[in-house]
Symmetry: C2
């Protein structure tokens, strides 16, 4: 039997946090004289109160949760956050439709960054801040999820990719989660603060600096500007964001090791090297292509290429230039980049660097095995042999990912989207990137997607963000059999 009490207690805690963080933007609204103060206050207090009551009602519960409850708690957390987080947008009227508000909020908590807003600047500052905050909280959740929780649930090889932060025994969920959170959230907060200062230095105002720092570190990509980062023509700001997108797309345990001067852990990390090489290769290709097409001067070509490639690979989704106008080759290339994903243990979504690395290595090994059928040729990661069950889990992850993406594309085309836009909408949602291609391209948004399509895309965002299996397991019959 599922322990509903402990699950409800957890939901209560989540709602309290949801309500409290919702009110953090109020000072900005006071400063700018916006009309969303009462709404944020009422919603924030109300939601916290509901959470508080739930916690009170279930305060006597067991300390440890089982694996099965773990799957449910994780999935439910994201859904509850989005369901309640959407409320102030609707109550205020800035986003009149609840479907739209839910889409925007789920896009926030999953750090996707896809938006239905057609005039972002018209929103009051408190709501805009809450919108950015959903991404930052989502990013915070993802770090703990991928580094402490998913490895214990055995999801998608995470146990191998990220279990590198020294901590207490793996069997107890609570202490380990608490330790990991303490260590890595400190780094997350630190980077966020540093980025705020650098953006201020680049001439961005305080409100925009804070918002963009929140959404960069989450690889979220929500901007306070309708035209995204193209609104700023400062190379300094662009470079700052490139650096922090890159940082946010890196495994946070590596940052932990770097801060503890443990450079060897970074040096021997195959995923990080792959991440660097991939960005380097793709940026070079894009620069050559743009120079041949006489796109702009050297510096701007370099900067736009680097910005867009890092933005998509890390699944951030900021835009400084509309790569869809660069020609069909770039449209295909950036479509493919929607499938790369950040590093495991980063805030980035998608398939993830380490999985691509292992898939490539394993495929090469398979060729060798054909020629030497009797040889035992293992796949190695960070100088250790990767167990075959991890390889097969990674392969299964990849297949489910492709299958769900294709199913999403098919459904989006069924509700009337053209082929290219359907591909883009599905890929960018499950990959938690933000912009797609076609009618949901980098300078467009999701406002015109039919409601049913918006609900399906939010489900894709959730699936992608929770590494598919966390959610899929709950839908399997084996999960409910005793």
């Amino acid at each position: 039997m599922l322990n509903l009490k402990i699950i409800t207690n957890f939901i209560g805690v989540v709602l309290i946090l949801n309500g409290l963080f919702m009110m953090l933007g109020i000072p900005f609204s006071l400063y700018y004289g916006d009309n969303d103060i009462i709404v944020l206050l009422a919603c924030g207090v109300g939601i916290s109160l509901i959470g508080f009551i739930l916690v009170l009602l279930t305060r006597k519960h067991e300390k440890e949760i089982s694996k099965r409850e773990g799957y449910i708690v994780v999935s439910v957390t994201w859904v509850i956050m989005a369901l309640f987080g959407a409320i102030p947008f609707v109550v205020h009227g800035a986003i009149p439709s609840y479907t739209d508000a839910f889409f925007e909020t789920m896009s926030g908590f999953t750090t996707t960054g896809a938006s239905i807003l057609n005039d972002i600047e018209s929103l009051p500052h408190g709501l805009l801040f809450w919108r950015s905050m959903t991404q930052w909280l989502g990013g915070m959740g993802v770090i703990v999820l991928s580094i402490a929780i998913l490895p214990m649930l055995g999801i998608g090889g995470m146990q191998l990719f990220v279990a590198e932060v020294p901590g207490p025994t793996k069997d107890k969920i609570h202490p380990r989660v608490r330790e990991t959170a303490k260590r890595l959230w400190g780094i997350y907060v630190l980077f966020t603060i540093v980025e705020v200062f650098l953006l201020l230095l680049g001439g961005m105002n305080l409100f925009d600096s804070v918002n963009h720092a929140l959404t960069t570190m989450a690889t979220g990509g929500f901007s306070t500007k309708q035209s995204s980062i193209a609104a700023y023509d400062s190379p300094f700001i662009h470079y700052v964001m490139i650096v922090f997108m890159f940082i946010a797309g890196t495994n946070f345990t590596l940052h932990y090791h770097l801060l503890h001067r443990n450079f060897s852990a970074v040096k021997k990390n195959d995923e990080f090297k792959f991440y660097l090489k991939l960005i380097g290769t793709v940026v070079t290709i894009v620069i050559i292509g743009l120079l041949l097409a006489d796109y702009a001067g050297i510096e701007k070509t370099f900067r736009d290429a680097l910005f867009q490639v890092v933005s998509i690979i890390t699944t951030t989704g900021y835009v400084t230039s509309d790569y869809e106008l660069w020609g069909p080759f770039f449209q295909v290339l950036f479509f493919l980049l929607l499938f790369t994903g950040g590093s495991a243990g980063s805030t980035g979504g998608g398939i993830k660097m380490v999985r691509h690395y292992l898939l490539i290595k394993n495929s090469m090994m398979e060729l060798k095995r054909l020629i030497h059928p009797r040889a035992v040729i293992p796949v190695r990661l960070n100088k250790s042999t990767v167990p075959s069950d991890i390889i097969s889990n990674v392969l299964a992850f990849f297949l489910f990912y492709i299958f769900i993406f294709l199913l999403g594309t098919l459904i989006m085309s069924l509700i009337g989207m053209d082929f290219i836009s359907a591909l883009g909408a599905s890929a960018t949602s499950i990959g938690n990137v933000g912009p797609g291609i076609g009618t949901v391209g980098p300078t467009m948004n999701f406002a015109n997607v039919p409601d049913i399509g918006k609900w399906i895309l939010t489900f894709l965002m959730l699936l992608g963000r929770l590494e598919l299996f966390t959610v899929l397991v709950i839908f399997s019959s084996a999960f409910w059999k005793k």
Copy 2:
């Protein structure tokens, strides 16, 4: 060291056959008074002569060939056939460009069916017959390849999927290939003859009946009409072709068992059941979609849906109706069908039914393994447990397939093709289907693809037809190391 003598000897035999079969269309040209008789005679005799000389020069060679030589012989056979098979088209002038002629001939021998011809009816009958014959010979080659040769080379799980015809020991290549050829080619010839008679019965003339029977059984899809099978408005002809496309997409060892009244082998064959279910499901979806869109009357809707779905799933590529006009959903659906492929051991190309079946089964098992990490849950095929090395080979096949398809798409977009057409051209070539989507859709052709693109697509056809690994292995460094 590679035994070049035995390889050259084999090429000689292939060239003799190439030349002899080339001349088989001459009676039709005589009957119709066409101007290609001298060309076919000269090319046929010349190519046979070259082959004869090669055989003479290398008549003293060892009897058995090694695995490594096997890979090379297989790949070289298809390339040599296409290189020489293209000659009469150029010499006659019906296809002035050698690139175009090579594309058409490789599309033939790989049973793809993609064409560069803009006015098929203007070709003399002897050349048209040779064009259809390339597909029939390719189909013949594929049956032996997939049922006798690839299993021995350990390619893509073929050892498990098709090694069901009783035969001599698996270690000796020659006797086994001879046995398999004798048994299965008889069936292939028989079905071809029966289809010719049925098409004659449906009112098709002798020349067209023979040509279409040749290209149906090969799941090739070359037609003697520019508008493909839409040129015939006879429901009887359409149904005959549906039946024979279905037969050609079925594992030929099942036909062997059926003809020997061994029904249990068919009943327990999971791939065949999957093939039936998939066709049934997709046809139902298409029929519902078309009825909702008020496409036509019940019978025509049923027939067009069944014809197009079977045509694409079996990788034949005949067209009776332009499914691209049916709307974006059908465009996505038919694009996805380019990846299904026929059954293993059939003349169909693509990923193949059995691989999809195993990938789906294995993914479901992986979900179960998450919930019960200690349970040993094997994947079963035809009531036997599938060894894990076969599963991992199938997974590697799938990854290479997707990777090469995406690389092909990227290259086609680089030479100026739009996104959708690039996807379609790459998918239909590696899948050996024929028609793609966009500018290479069912009512279009490949005439306007730049030359470099045509060469790349023929390479994709070859890769797909030889189950990727046969060719990829030759390009791996491990192959050339001793």
